[in-house]
């Protein structure tokens, strides 16, 4: 039997005490691990939030609100001014094809005027059914009677053409290409990126063509915007769109991405100064994100403090238990020394004993942590989250005619509430984490047992035995 084997056997010398120690250590380790997991989950969420669209500013002509507002259009030169600013990593610009379709009155049945289907400037059919609400709006916009439902022809949503520059779509989100390319050969090339919905509805593939404003345009890429309305869009080069729609040098919106959430405010100020604060409205969802980040960082701090306290408690438990065990067995230590055991051997035996108890505690603790970490994280989040219950929707500027009222339906940037941003955080129990947890527990066990054992082992055997 080796020193280590003896230490392992000693761990179970008193089953009741061993079970109690394992249970105490298990709870301590479980709490520490669960809080560590919560801390890591918060850290990941904070990093994700900081990397997310919250760093994007939307710049609109002052006074404009979708297709309903006024204001003067932005200019192409404004894009260059923004690009030159510090902490700006990416700039996108959009010009929307205002008036892409028109209504024409024609003879109706029974002597009443009948509204004809709109004449679109784009030879593509929308993939979206407008539904009852869309048809009502069509009636209102076309000037027909709301009671004259039988006279209204089947209405289809128009396909909106948007000119873009950069790699962001008309909502400021990165374009996710599923086939083809995301870049145009030139800013005036008759090329287009089409959404998956449009492509399917019109049987478009890479290389297919369609007509817009009398120009034949070739499909060079198909994208997935992640929602039905976003996939109903068509993007062409900015300069081409400006020419086709008769809006030379005009920009509907500029999207500015800052390098981090921390610099977003300064970038916003700089953009306002560069373009003229009276010319532009600048919007972002940063407020909610900042609230969410503050909440998350608060929870992260609580979890870290809790973890340190729990680890310290586990360390103190281990130390006191081993101190108790060592003191209780000081006569045995004296005897072992009297029959030739070295100090190192005695310390090794007690460290092995402590490691076994800690390992058992760690197994219990890890199991408990795996079962409870999500609940503990959820409780921490729910008790430390801003109480705003409404989801604020930035349905403001942009979108062109169809993008005004129905901006969100078209995939407009939606700013979630801080509460929504921090909820549903899941912990992730990975092997490296378990390794770190076990390592920390073992370190505590080694220090907690080696110190009292060494202090006792250093004492002369006669003193140890006399102390009984």
């Amino acid at each position: 039997m080796s020193t280590v084997t003896r230490g392992v056997r000693n761990a179970f010398r008193n089953p009741i005490r061993s079970a109690s120690v394992v249970a105490l250590l298990g709870i301590g380790i479980a709490l520490a691990l669960a809080l560590f997991l919560a801390n890591q989950a918060m850290k990941t969420k904070v990093a994700d939030l900081k990397k997310s669209a919250a760093t994007t500013l939307t710049v609109n002509p002052a006074g404009a609100f979708g297709g309903d507002g006024g204001g003067e259009p932005l200019k192409t030169a404004d894009v260059d001014k923004v690009k030159a600013l510090a902490h700006v990593t990416e700039v996108g610009a959009v010009v929307t094809a205002g008036g892409s379709f028109k209504f024409a009155a024609g003879p109706g049945t029974g002597g009443t005027a009948q509204v004809q289907a709109p004449v679109s400037n784009v030879s593509l059919e929308s993939s979206i059914d407008p539904g009852t609400l869309g048809r009502r709006r069509f009636q209102r916009d076309s000037g027909s009677s709301s009671t004259d439902t039988t006279a209204v022809p089947t209405f289809k949503l128009p396909v909106t053409l948007a000119g873009i520059i950069g790699t962001m779509d008309r909502t400021g989100q990165p374009i996710k290409i599923t086939s083809g390319t995301s870049t145009f050969s030139t800013q005036t090339a008759p090329e287009a990126l089409v959404g998956q919905g449009i492509a399917t509805k019109n049987n478009l593939k890479i290389g297919s063509t369609f007509t817009a404003y009398g120009t034949t345009i070739k499909v060079v890429g198909i994208f997935d915007a992640g929602n039905e309305f976003g996939n109903d869009g068509v993007y062409v080069p900015l300069a081409l769109a400006q020419t086709l729609t008769g809006q030379p040098d005009e920009i509907s919106q500029i999207f500015v991405r800052a390098d981090s959430i921390d610099t977003l405010d300064s970038v916003k100020t700089a953009v306002g100064n560069a373009l003229g604060n009276t010319r532009v409205d600048i919007n972002s969802s940063a407020q909610n994100t900042t609230e969410a980040l503050t909440a998350l960082q608060g929870i992260q701090g609580i979890a870290l403090t809790g973890m340190i306290v729990a680890l310290a408690a586990a360390a103190v438990i281990t130390f006191l238990v081993m101190l108790m065990i060592v003191r209780e067995r000081r006569r045995e230590i004296g005897v072992l020394k009297a029959i030739g055991a070295s100090n190192t051997g005695i310390v090794t035996q007690f460290v092995a004993e402590s490691l076994v108890l800690t390992l058992c505690g760690a197994i219990v603790g890890i199991s408990l942590a795996a079962l409870t970490s999500n609940q503990i994280t959820g409780a921490l989040v729910s008790s430390n989250t801003p109480s705003s219950s409404s989801s604020t929707t930035d349905s403001g500027p942009g979108g062109g005619r169809a993008g005004g009222r129905a901006f969100v339906r078209f995939g407009g940037q939606t700013a979630q509430s801080a509460e929504n941003l921090v909820k549903n955080i899941k912990t992730n129990v990975g092997l490296p984490l378990l390794g770190e947890g076990l390592g920390a527990a073992f370190l505590i066990a080694i220090i907690g047992s080696a110190i009292p054992a060494w202090l006792i082992a250093k004492v002369r055997p006669a003193e140890v035995m006399r102390g009984e």
Binding site: E332, V335, L336, K337, A338, G340, P461, A462, M465
Partner: protein, 258 residues
């Protein structure tokens, strides 16, 4: 040969300095069964602890075969205790969660003896001290006091020490079992040529030894050869006994023939 010269051990206490062992000198030749007798608190157990390097003296020398153990480093003291000393305690002091045979194997493990060899020797030693085969794998709690003391003696013999120090080896045993243990120690002294020094307050046991040191108040007051035939009768050695204590001044440095 064990030579003790002017050995003193003092302790500090709230009441001041307490001298547990005061300027004691004596010699014990190899293969002798000696007894240290004295009242409780006389310093006999402290003396035994000093001889076994369980404690360090305040002054004086303890030479074992010419080597002064009071000057050894901690590492060498451990080696000394492991290979040259065997301890037998009044309360046996067996490790409670180890079996009889495992307790005997323990000192050999510390000495680096391979498992197979130490198991064989432990079984042989337990047989030698009279522990029956069915009790080899019992834990101390399932052995009687006499059996536990046999195991303790076997453990003391494990590394073939030259000196066995026994602190009240029969103190917790009935008289019949005590006799058996004393006989056992006698036989060991004779057959293994092992020097045995036993601390006892039982004068009857002391009379059965070759040499009796009497201690009072930390001082050696007498060193007597037992005239009665003892088990290791063939031993006839010179023992030098000395003390500077006033009460034993007449006997100091006097050489006795056993």
């Amino acid at each position: 040969m064990l030579t003790v010269s002017n050995l003193t051990k003092q302790f500090s206490s709230h009441a001041g300095t307490v001298t547990a062992v005061s300027d004691i000198s004596f010699e014990v030749p190899e293969g002798v069964f000696a007894a240290i007798v004295g009242k409780s608190g006389s310093g006999k157990s402290t003396l035994l602890a000093l001889l076994g390097a369980l404690d360090t003296p305040t002054s004086g020398k303890i030479e074992v075969d010419g080597e002064d153990i009071t000057k050894l480093s901690d590492h060498k003291l451990t080696a000394y205790r492991r290979s040259r000393i065997g301890f037998v305690f009044q309360s046996y002091n067996l490790v409670p969660n180890l079996t009889a045979v495992e307790n005997v194997m323990l000192p050999m493990e510390f000495a680096g003896v391979p498992h197979k060899d130490r198991l064989a020797r432990a079984e042989a030693l337990l047989a030698q001290v009279g522990l029956t085969l069915d009790k080899l794998h019992r834990k101390p709690s399932r052995l009687s006091g006499g059996e536990q003391q046999r195991v303790a003696i076997a453990r003391a013999l494990a590394n073939k020490p030259k000196l066995i120090l026994a602190d009240e080896p029969t103190g917790n045993l009935d008289s019949a079992t005590g006799e058996v243990i004393v006989d056992l120690l006698h036989n060991l002294a004779r057959t293994e040529k092992t020097t045995i020094i036993a601390v006892t307050h039982d004068l009857e046991i002391a009379r059965q030894t070759n040499l009796t040191f009497k201690i009072a108040d930390g001082k050696l007051v007498s060193a007597e050869h037992n005239k009665r035939p003892v088990k290791p009768a063939s031993i006839a050695q010179e023992v030098s006994v000395s003390t500077t204590a006033a009460g034993a001044a007449a006997r100091s440095h006097r050489t006795k023939r056993l």
